[in-house]
């Protein structure tokens, strides 16, 4: 049962990941990072990929553009983007697609820009790689992009170097660079995690504004459920390398089906929270190499049954547009 069927978005989704499995290392030393991951992103939709460390959310996002480390191999599954399976696209053709159809921004603004190139040149390069435009047209486009992401006096700032920008400003430059060729999908891997909360608010506001203006679909990877709630329509929850729940954000946040999602939502400290104690999920996230047989959440699950420790539950639809990978969920109030 692939996750895609769960999405009743109009027409074929822009991006459809089916049964994606990625492992690191060779031979018997190989460690499965993510297994049987399925979800979809509709045109212009904002999907949140949420999970704690070791959940495989970054590996999933990097696999789409095939930017994984050399030691990683895609063992199975398909990544359909506008009808093309990116897993089978030859390596030499991937650069044409990166930055033009699908763009990506990363978590560490401090180290994601080339320290020896001016900000303007780095954005200009993103244009020049995909479009044959005159230097003047390209320069105009660079200034327009810088202005579009809220960087004041663009003409002068484009000559500055990354070390002359603050974290928030650099993230804006990254966004401008990603939008240079008007991609149809923007993958953002923890874009605001490294930023202070007031700067994060600015960047999130900017991303929402861009989505409205350009209709670019966003795949937002984050561990912060607050950011996901504010930015996305659909959420995909990952735990220990597998998708455990998908659905519309409003539904999942109101009453999550999977015990892990419920536990996670209850553990979040809330600004209006009155209680002193936080709900806590006992135990630890298993390391990728030491994942238990059966459901990975079983050791920490309050409602586990014998079957959970024997078999791995697949992601099954439990309500229109919603799914969970749990034998217990949905059968009665988990």
């Amino acid at each position: 049962m692939s996750g895609a069927a769960l999405h009743a978005t109009s027409g074929a989704p822009l991006l459809q990941v089916e049964g994606l499995t990625v492992a690191f290392g060779r031979g018997d030393a190989a460690v499965t990072a993510i297994e049987d991951v399925s979800f979809a992103v509709g045109t212009g939709e904002a999907v949140g990929l949420v999970g704690e460390s070791g959940s495989g959310k970054s590996v999933t996002s990097l696999s789409i553009l095939r930017l994984l480390a050399p030691s990683a191999t895609i063992r199975g599954g398909r990544i359909l983007f506008a009808g093309r399976d990116l897993v089978t696209v030859p390596r030499s053709e991937m650069p044409d697609l990166r930055g033009r159809d699908v763009a990506m921004i990363f978590q560490e603004p401090m180290s994601s820009l080339n320290p020896l190139m001016t900000v303007g040149d780095q954005i200009g390069e993103a244009i020049a790689l995909h479009e044959q435009v005159s230097p003047q047209a390209r320069e105009a486009r660079v200034l327009e992009l810088l202005g579009g992401v809220g960087i004041p006096d663009a003409a002068q700032r484009r000559r500055a170097y990354p070390h002359q920008f603050s974290g928030g400003m650099r993230q804006r430059v990254m966004i401008a660079m990603a939008l240079a060729c008007r991609p149809r999908l923007l993958i953002a891997d923890e874009p605001t995690t490294a930023l202070d909360v007031t700067i994060q608010a600015q960047v999130l506001e900017l991303m929402r504004d861009i989505r409205e203006r350009t209709g670019t679909a966003i795949l937002l990877i984050s561990h912060d459920l607050g950011v996901i709630a504010e930015m996305c329509e659909t959420v995909v929850v990952m735990y220990s390398g597998r998708v455990v729940e998908t659905g519309r954000v409003a539904d999942v946040f109101r009453d999550a089906l999977h015990p892990y999602t419920r536990g996670l939502l209850a553990s979040i400290p809330r600004l209006d929270g009155e209680s002193r104690r936080l709900h806590q999920i006992p135990g630890n996230v298993p390391a990728p190499g030491a994942r238990p047989r059966g459901c990975a959440f079983a050791p920490r699950c309050p409602v586990k049954v014998a079957r959970c420790e024997a078999e791995r539950p697949a992601l099954t639809p439990l309500a229109p547009g919603r799914g969970a990978a749990c034998f217990v969920a949905g059968s009665e109030a988990a």
Partner: protein, 312 residues
């Protein structure tokens, strides 16, 4: 721009002074009395006294120091005690040979070493990387004078392709004489530069901005050269400065092996003959080179790396 260059030049002044002071102190710490050592135990007292006055050793220490500084900075190194020739003339005749050898050897080292390092880094783990590592390991181990001796015996003595000794006169002839010694030194320097470039390249290729370049749609060659190499070459520039100086000091031995004229040979024979003015001049010349090369590397860094050139 000028502000940065000016700052670096100002920075070099105290360094030069410190170096000269160290040299002055080192030579004055010589155990025993230089006059005795040069003239031998049988010299009479007044011969010793005459020698000391000639050499200005009888003046109070600070006067000697000032005279020493004035002499060094105006390149007036006094006269050789052995050949009575003005030292500066001795230097003028031999220095060009050393510079020629050092530049050609370093040039060859760069042309071979840096590309080798890049290829090894890009093909990490595959045969080019293994080959480069073995080449570097041998290059780090083999003594320069041994390699020189082997090349001399092999290509010069037995095969006669190259001259056995001398520095040659006239451009072509001097090049003909410098090839074998330069290759000897270049082999070692390319091993050093190759390994340095490889490490620096590997470190840079792991950086986030290289991944960003790929995410932008840049093809692999552009990622490696436009983004990777430019950042990797900065630390290599420092390494280049160091290898230039290492080649300079290596040339001392090579000049001996190939019987070439040069500052190294002058200094070594002066040490053997205890010819103090020449020793002093040789040491100062080498020290001067060190300061100039390091200043050069600093300037290159300041001009190339915007993080230094442009204040945040």
């Amino acid at each position: 721009m000028l502000r940065v260059v000016g700052a670096r030049l100002l920075d070099a002044v105290p360094t030069v002074l410190l170096v000269l002071t160290l040299v002055f102190v080192a030579l004055r710490l010589l155990p025993g009395d230089p006059a005795l050592v040069v003239l031998g135990e049988y010299a009479t007292q007044d011969q010793l006294a005459l020698f000391r006055r000639q050499m200005g050793l009888d003046l109070p220490l600070w006067q000697q120091y000032l005279a020493f500084l004035k002499g060094m900075l105006t390149f007036d190194f006094g006269t050789s005690m052995v050949s009575q020739m003005p030292v500066s003339q001795l230097i003028r005749e031999n220095l060009p040979y050393t510079i020629e050898l050092t530049l050609v050897a370093t040039g060859l080292g760069v042309v071979v070493g840096i590309p080798m390092g890049v290829v090894a880094a890009v093909n990490r783990g595959r045969w080019p990387d293994m080959g480069a590592r073995i080449y570097s390991l041998v290059g780090y181990a083999i003594p320069d004078f041994y390699l020189g001796a082997l090349l001399l015996i092999g290509f010069a003595l037995n095969l006669g392709w190259f001259p056995i000794n001398g520095g040659g006169s006239g451009f072509l002839d001097r090049m003909y004489h410098v090839i074998l010694p330069a290759i000897t030194l270049a082999t070692l320097k390319s091993a050093f530069l190759g390994r340095l470039t490889r490490t620096s390249m590997l470190e840079v290729l792991g950086r986030d901005y290289v991944r960003t370049a790929r995410a932008k749609g840049a093809r692999e060659p552009r990622v490696i050269f436009r983004h990777g190499l430019r950042n990797a070459l900065l630390p290599v520039a420092t390494g280049l400065g160091l290898s230039l100086l290492a080649t300079l000091s290596g040339s001392v031995a090579i000049e001996l092996v190939f019987n070439r004229p040069g500052i190294g040979e002058v200094l070594i024979s002066a040490i053997a003959k205890r010819d103090y003015p020449v020793i002093q001049a040789g040491v100062v010349i080498f020290a001067f080179f060190v300061v100039v090369v390091n200043l050069g590397v600093d300037l290159v860094y300041a001009l190339v790396d915007p993080r230094i050139r442009v204040k945040a």
